[in-house]
């Protein structure tokens, strides 16, 4: 029983790492643009497929394809923002949310058109897992968790040590004051999309490594990603880390008592409870 729980905890941390990378982007975008970006899951999928092209097409190892996928997804996010969201900056958040819903569908169709509707994987064949005391750990799991830790640390340095990162925090703290301080909002918004899109690409790749690639992979993970962002207090990227871990662990651990097909329902339930009981998130907010 203990072993089983530990095993699920490992899966939970792996899933939590993936959700965290997606939820940070959702949170950053919400903090600065004040809308829930519904296309974020499909942006993750797009990043995963960019990688697949290099892996399956050119024989790249997955890790070597990641930088290209990051840049690709960051550019795609910026392009979407400039062509669609930018014209809606002064519209109410609901309009932006609905547009992002449209973008989500468009991205999914593009993915299906370019890469096909079937399941695909980065590497065929079975990875030889490590075993300790009855626990099974796949090398991919280690890479996913390590990758997430490194990226979160890099993001932390960016947000606290660089002028641009601080400007992002300033804009999410007090948009009006940021403007009158002379912070160039459009430039900061562009960087926000680059960071959010880049992290989404990695989340997508990790999700593809952990499971498989499929055009709806991003859409199916959107709900847990949002649950993580909301649990952490949407708009606060640091909260997204805790939120991602809690949701990841809860989803995996719940399989002890309920059928695994209900994992997304667990995320949904946690999100709803959070919205009712503590809408500002786990941590004290300033909003």
């Amino acid at each position: 029983m203990v072993t089983e729980l530990l095993q699920l905890a490992i899966y939970g941390v792996v899933l939590g790492s993936i959700l965290t990378l997606g939820a940070i982007g959702v949170s950053l975008i919400y903090g600065i643009l004040r809308f829930a970006h519904f296309a974020h899951g499909d942006l993750m999928a797009l990043g995963a497929y960019f990688s697949l092209s290099l892996v399956a097409g050119l024989g790249f190892p997955v890790w070597a394809s990641a930088p290209f996928a990051i840049v690709g997804a960051a550019l795609a996010a910026i392009a979407i923002d400039q062509t669609v969201y930018r014209h809606l900056r002064k519209s109410p958040p609901i309009i932006l949310l609905i547009s992002s819903f449209g973008i989500a569908i468009a991205l999914r169709s593009v993915i299906q058109l370019v890469w096909g509707p079937r399941n695909q994987v980065y590497a065929s064949g079975i990875q030889i897992p490590w075993r300790f005391e009855g626990l099974v750990i796949k090398p991919d799991h280690v890479w996913i968790v390590l990758g997430a830790v490194v990226l979160v640390a890099a993001l932390h340095l960016f947000l606290t040590r660089t002028k641009m990162g601080k400007a992002m925090r300033a804009m999410s703290d007090n948009m009006d004051l940021a403007l009158v301080s002379g912070i160039p909002s459009e430039r900061v918004i562009m960087v926000t999309w680059a960071v959010g899109g880049g992290l989404a690409a990695v989340a997508g790749i990790f999700l593809g490594m952990d499971t498989r690639l499929h055009p709806v992979m991003g859409w199916s993970v959107l709900l847990p990603v949002f649950a993580a962002a909301i649990l952490g207090g949407i708009g606060r990227p640091y909260g997204a880390i805790a939120g991602g871990m809690v949701i990841g662990l809860a989803m995996e651990m719940s399989t002890v008592v309920i059928d695994p097909t209900y994992k997304p329902a667990v995320a949904f339930a946690l999100m709803v409870i959070m919205l009712v009981v503590r809408p500002q998130g786990l941590f004290k907010g300033n909003a």
Binding site: D173, L177, V180, S181, G182, P184, S185, N286
Partner: protein, 234 residues
Amino acid sequence: MTLLSIEGLTGGYGGADILHGVDLRVEPGEIVVIIGPNGAGKSTLMKAAFGLVKIKEGAVLFEKRDITPLRPDQIVRQGISYVPQERNVFPSMSVEENLEMGAFIRTDDIRPQMERIYSFFPRLAERRTQIAGSMSGGERQMLAMGRALMLDPKLLLLDEPTAGLSPLFIDQTFERIQKINAAGIGILMVEQNAKQALAVCDRGYVLTMGRNRIDDTGANLLANKDVAEMFLGG
């Protein structure tokens, strides 16, 4: 050369106009005060000067240059800094980071200016790493002013810098404003503490319902019966 000149400004937030043809000017080295009842449009006038309000008619000139069509980040570059009435710090950021954000558009070394601000507001120097949201109202007001001074502006707009402060802090704030002004920075401020504000200013404007009511020197306004009745507690 006139520092700031607002000419026949009409506009508001998209609905009904709040300002109706307001005129105002600030000469170099002056302290100019705007007083008026709540809702008169004092804050709106400040925002209008900073490109934050929809202007239908009239113009805002800074050193003779028309800045009416400019965005806030372009106006900052002309040499105007603005301290809003409310929400005038970045609450989750440290004192030091707040000051840094005030200097965002500077590409040179900002540390000398930061040290000048710290010596001007020793209280901030003691709290460099404190999060702005956890500071007292008086300290936040200092930080807000410090942030605006990071660009060493030619003109400083202050919207009710003494609101909600204790009498001791109010006196200190007026002293500081005079010191900033003595360093050659023009000041345009909205104030509820009309008596003290009019005593330190060169000229004042009384604004009611979005229109100029009385414009005069500070001394004359203090002596004015109507002003005394309306704003100085009889």
